[in-house]
Amino acid sequence: MNEELSNVLISKEHPMDDYLREDRLPHIWCSGCGLGTILTSFVSALQKSGLDRDKVAVVSGIGCTGRAAGYLYLDGFHTTHGRAIPFATGLKLGNPELKVVVISGDGDLVAIGGNHFIHAARRNMDITVICVNNFNYGMTSGQMGPTTPTGARTSTSPYGNHEPPFSVPYLAAASGATYVARWTSLHIRRLEDSILEALNKKGFSVVEIISPCPTYYGKKNKMGSALQQMKYYHENSVIRHGSDPAESGIDLGGEIVVGCFINKDKPTFLDSQKRSV
């Protein structure tokens, strides 16, 4: 480098490093991928939550988002594909003092792990699930998944996806989740507030976060760079708190309904179990 950056200070450490395994940075995610931003929102929410961080455990499955647990300086478990929720279930029951957070992707949580997702919601297991949805399997180079919009092109839907997708909030709400919200990785402040609400919620709380995959999904569907995908979120997101999750479906190129859809109280698995014995 023969030139220097003007008017900036060069640093080696970041204020959030205390919450990160900084010896593993830079992370493996692509330039512009929303995952890093989402992690920032999570750490920020965690700091505000007042939770004892030594009693917070993060569980991930497999995939790009599956690596999240590996960058947070917390007890972290990087499990097998689709199995973060049942692992988290055992962890919570093995030590109910823990705040257990699952951070994983849409393919991991609602395709291969779909059965676990609906059953954990049904029994109101007291865990928080952060589902990062980039509409495809990024880690394996962009195949169609359970949330890929109809018509979208991926490496395994070269003629356009002919299957209808799941809406994660609708699935979560129908299965019995106590807190259901959706944001995009552009809505950083609202996302942070929402994660904070989810962390403080007793029961099965779900925050879905729409996030750009510039390398595969964005490119295959001519959505441009991460920046352009963020602009798309900016122009097409509609905040509708309390709206019916049944109307939260996402069409290719259509609007993205965001907001907090469900926020209710009911007994958790452990509450009901204690009462029944």
Partner: protein
């Protein structure tokens, strides 16, 4: 800074000033910070890091007001702001 209306107390409020810190090795040149800085403080430089990503820098004519948006939106934990001490 772009303002919709001029605050009545604008001349009495001290606007904080921030210094931009960059961790060169972590930046991946996604430009989110530059795009979303509400004060247009940042711009892309012509300088690359070791992995070939071009890095942001500060346009000296603008002032950072420490809104923290670049820090929040950066996916790389590569940028943060510290307040310039007035002491």
């Amino acid at each position: 800074m772009k303002l919709w209306r001029k605050p009545l107390d604008q001349d009495r409020v001290m606007i904080p000033h921030g210094e931009v810190h960059i961790i060169i090795e972590r930046c991946k040149g996604c430009e989110l910070c530059v795009t979303y800085c509400p004060c247009d403080v940042l711009e892309m430089s012509r300088i690359f890091n070791a992995k070939g990503y071009s890095l942001p820098q500060v346009d000296g004519s603008k002032d950072c007001v420490i809104c923290g948006l670049c820090e929040m939106i950066c996916p790389e934990f590569a940028i943060y702001i510290e307040e310039v001490s007035h002491g």
